[in-house]
């Protein structure tokens, strides 16, 4: 197979992949720019004939997207910080210390990882209900504050820190916590960064749990808010996809931008753990 043919085939394949992967995004944007009379046209137009921003302004006014963003941000940041903090501590403890019942703790954590969310979501809801935590920030974040996944990942990476280093620090009179903070953490920075990314992404987009625990409008996170907002339009018989697409765009664009900027680190982090894991 000579070089030119090869290049053509590769180019073709790449083009197809890129198109398939990108078109939905483009279409969202294009649709969002169309005024309502144009959206209902059959057959549909490709480029908007009369592009307008009215869908965006309408969405922005009709639903408190800023509030949704704030909620999502607060919740996700707290969860991420907590997960990373506690996972590191737990991972550290599991990797570097010997204590009675260590095996037990290990398997306990492992067990929680195996249990799918589906079992616990119902009893969890009751639990929250009992304590009046439904529709609160606390109720929203509590179940996600620690993940076994995070613990194991940190344990994995922390165990690569040479013990001699820690012992030397101890001999010098360093307190345990400082050992953790000053020595171990900087050494596993890559793992920490990866965990941050993973956790952030997973929780930002979490839908099922917020769906269960949140009722009021002002507590909605982005995924929830968007779903609620957009499905409202489906109830009304009118075909208002342009507004829905505008709302969707509002919801997904910031994350996409952040991703594109940070993509190298994100992707490296994931493949890094994917191999080790």
């Amino acid at each position: 197979m000579n070089k030119t043919v090869r290049i053509i085939i590769l180019a073709f394949l790449t083009l197809i992949c890129a198109v398939v992967l990108l078109v939905p995004f483009l279409w969202t944007a294009l649709t969002a720019l169309k005024p309502t009379p144009e959206v209902v046209k059959v057959p549909p137009t490709f480029l908007p004939e009369n592009p307008t921003f009215e869908n965006f302004s309408y969405s922005w006014r009709a639903a408190p997207f800023l509030l949704f963003y704030m909620n999502s941000l607060i919740v996700t940041v707290i969860i991420t910080a907590s997960v990373v903090l506690f996972s590191s501590m737990a991972g550290f403890a599991l990797a570097k210390y010997q204590f009675r019942g260590k095996e037990l703790v290990f398997f306990y954590f492992l067990g929680t990882m195996v249990i799918p969310f589906e079992i616990i979501m119902l009893p969890l809801f009751f639990f929250m209900n009992k304590f009046g935590l439904v529709d609160t920030y606390l109720g929203l974040i509590l179940p996600s504050l620690i993940t076994a996944f995070g613990i194991f990942m940190m344990r994995q990476f922390i165990s690569t820190v040479p013990n001699d280093l820690l012992d030397a620090a101890r001999i010098d009179g360093c307190k345990e916590f400082w050992i953790f903070y000053r020595i171990v953490i900087p050494l596993v920075k890559a793992a920490v960064a990866t965990l941050v990314i993973f956790t952030f992404l997973a929780n930002w987009d979490d839908f099922l749990w917020p769906l269960i625990i949140i009722e009021s409008m002002k507590m909605q996170t982005i995924p929830l808010g968007l779903a609620m907002f957009a499905s409202r339009f489906e109830m009304q018989a009118a075909l208002t996809w342009n507004v829905q697409m505008a709302a969707t765009l509002i919801s997904i664009v910031p994350v996409l931008i952040v991703f594109v900027i940070m993509q190298r680190h994100i992707i490296e982090g994931i493949s890094f753990t994917g191999l080790k894991g």
Partner: protein, 275 residues
């Protein structure tokens, strides 16, 4: 000092997890009657909705896993063969769907699939393929949902395969080429065997993910039309939170979880033995 660390851990886990686990054993939550657990289990086995939901879930997961693995491996190999710039571009592009919000993207696809106004039917119309019902058609709905799910997650698996591919020493391929091996044989005899553990791990991850699928189904079809996209997670949600039959929902959740765990264990064992 270690004690401080431990206490931090132990505070949360028991509260959140252990507490809830003790709850689920009851399976009578919702109605304050101590109905026999057996009651619920037998209901489940007689319920056709459950069985069709389960069947849907299995079908979904099956195709989800296969499509994901095949496409992601393909894309990964494609990226590997491309020049650096184009490769990075495709890498970013393939991961974009993964990062996008599932809810938002589901709405986009819902719109794309729209029978009269959607882009997909429109474009197919140009090639002369008739308008399809996609999400509105009982026959195609599940397939459509699978399509969306795979589209979204492919990038994730691709990245991991990429990393795996890059650990295969180029030497192998070079010496194979010297021996006159065709690209196909290179793939079959070098790439595949060396990627086996990665493939296996991806399969397990994808299977678990497939069973847990909820968000896109909720947005795209809510289990319809005619129950054709009703999967177990959707079923649990509906039974528990819409019909408020908590006990029944708990029982279903329990059963499904056992299935997931069992599958994961089986798959994991199968992998380890290959080595």
């Amino acid at each position: 000092m270690p004690a401080i660390l431990f206490f931090a851990l132990f505070y949360y886990f028991p509260i959140v997890y252990a507490g809830t686990m003790s709850f689920f054993r009851w399976k009578i939550v919702g109605t304050p009657q101590f109905l026999g657990i057996q009651n619920y289990i037998s209901i489940l086995f007689k319920s056709t909705t459950f069985r069709s939901a389960f069947k849907n879930t299995v079908v979904f997961t099956f195709w989800y896993v296969i499509a994901n693995i095949i496409f992601s491996l393909g894309i990964a190999m494609l990226i590997n063969s491309l020049s650096k710039v184009v490769g990075v571009f495709l890498r970013i592009v393939s991961f974009l769907p993964v990062v996008a919000s599932m809810v938002g993207i589901s709405f986009t696809w819902k719109w794309l699939f729209e029978p009269t106004h959607g882009l997909i039917n429109h474009i197919l119309g140009y090639i002369g393929l008739g308008p399809y019902g996609w999400l509105k058609s009982p026959d195609m709905a599940l397939g459509s949902v699978i399509l969306v799910s795979v589209w979204k997650q492919v990038g994730f698996f691709t990245i991991i395969f990429l990393a795996g591919l890059q650990t295969i020493p180029v030497m192998y391929y070079e010496s194979a080429k010297i021996d006159g091996a065709s690209p196909f044989r290179c793939f079959w005899n070098i790439t595949l065997p060396l990627l086996r553990p990665t493939i296996a791990l991806q399969i397990v991850i994808a299977t678990i993910g497939g069973f847990k699928t909820f968000t896109q189904i909720f947005v795209l079809t809510e289990g319809g039309p005619g129950g054709s996209t009703m999967t177990t997670s959707m079923y649990i949600y509906k039974t528990g939170f819409m019909l408020l039959q908590m006990g029944k929902a708990s029982a279903v959740a329990f059963i499904v979880s056992i299935v997931i765990i069992t599958l994961a264990i089986i798959q994991y064992r199968a992998i380890s033995r290959e080595y």
